[in-house]
């Protein structure tokens, strides 16, 4: 298994790991998306709008 290497060249910085060759920029973008997705799931939402007594419903 080839070791992970970061290739710096005038053509841009790339990460090379086995069959995977990905630009550092693209890797950061994908990592950021995963982080944002996880944060969206776990960070609490709402600032008190939610009221257990707010029972108004649309009449059918």
């Amino acid at each position: 298994m080839s070791t992970l290497s970061i290739v710096t060249e005038s053509a841009g910085r790339y990460v090379h790991w086995g069959v995977v060759l990905i630009s550092v920029t693209n890797l950061l973008i994908i990592a950021a998306m995963v982080v944002v997705f996880v944060l969206a799931l776990v960070v609490p939402f709402g600032s008190g709008h939610e009221q257990a007594t707010d029972q108004e419903r649309r009449e059918p």
Partner: protein, 220 residues
């Protein structure tokens, strides 16, 4: 036919054959009353994952506006003007944000199985939107009139020719590609977006998986 001075009641059966009436009924019936732009949402709509649809929509707006600004200057403008280059950068980065938000939105909708409850078409139109957006981005890359356009077209022609599509959709022809990019594909993305959002308003936001039916509980 005599003219009437009083206002005609909607659904007047005398005009049952009226195309206008039928079209209006269709339009009005697309979405339940008050749900086209509702000011209330079900209480389970309480997670940050829900904002990625509207973020995608907002990013699309910026993509279109920045693209329109580029169009004012024309194809060669951004190569010779620093303001043009900045506008081009706005267009590139809004596209990156557009795809980033859209994919996170897709991840969220998948793990929430948001196709439930008759929402299959919402899911499908979303998928078609994703693919159409890729096509729009692709024709954009072809329209840059620089090295990237040369290489992308040289490579892409092989993919498209291999399935016979290249005979009709010539990526080596910037005149054709530019018009697909600024006319046909934006119209497609726009129309699909409208359909997708109307479907969301029509069906409402999908309830939690295994949620108890409130209409049953009411009777309990």
């Amino acid at each position: 036919m005599t003219t009437r001075t009083d206002s005609p009641a909607p659904g007047n059966t005398n005009d049952a054959g009226s195309w206008t009436l039928r079209l209006r009924s269709r339009i009005v019936g697309l979405v339940p009353a008050g749900q086209a732009l509702p000011d209330r949402q079900p209480i389970y709509v309480a997670s940050w994952i829900y904002v990625f649809g509207v973020l995608t929509l907002a990013a699309l707006a910026v993509v279109i506006i920045s693209g329109g600004l580029l169009a004012i200057g024309g194809v060669a403008w951004w190569h010779v003007s620093s303001l043009g280059l900045f506008v081009n950068s706005l267009h590139l980065w809004s596209v990156e944000l557009f795809f980033g938000f859209m994919v996170i939105h897709l991840w969220g909708k998948f793990w929430m199985a948001s196709w439930r409850g008759g929402r299959a078409m919402t899911w499908i139109t979303g998928m078609v939107l994703f693919l159409t957006s890729i096509g729009a981005a692709f024709t954009g890359y072809l329209s840059q009139a620089n090295f990237a356009s040369q290489w992308i077209s040289a490579e892409a022609k092989d993919g498209l020719n291999s399935i016979g599509v290249g005979a009709f959709f010539n990526v080596l022809n910037p005149g054709q590609m530019l018009l697909w990019h600024v006319v046909l594909l934006p119209l497609g993305v726009g129309a699909l977006t409208v359909i997708h959002v109307v479907l969301v308003r029509r069906h409402g936001v999908a309830p939690p998986i295994d949620a108890a039916d409130p209409s049953m509980e009411k009777e309990a």
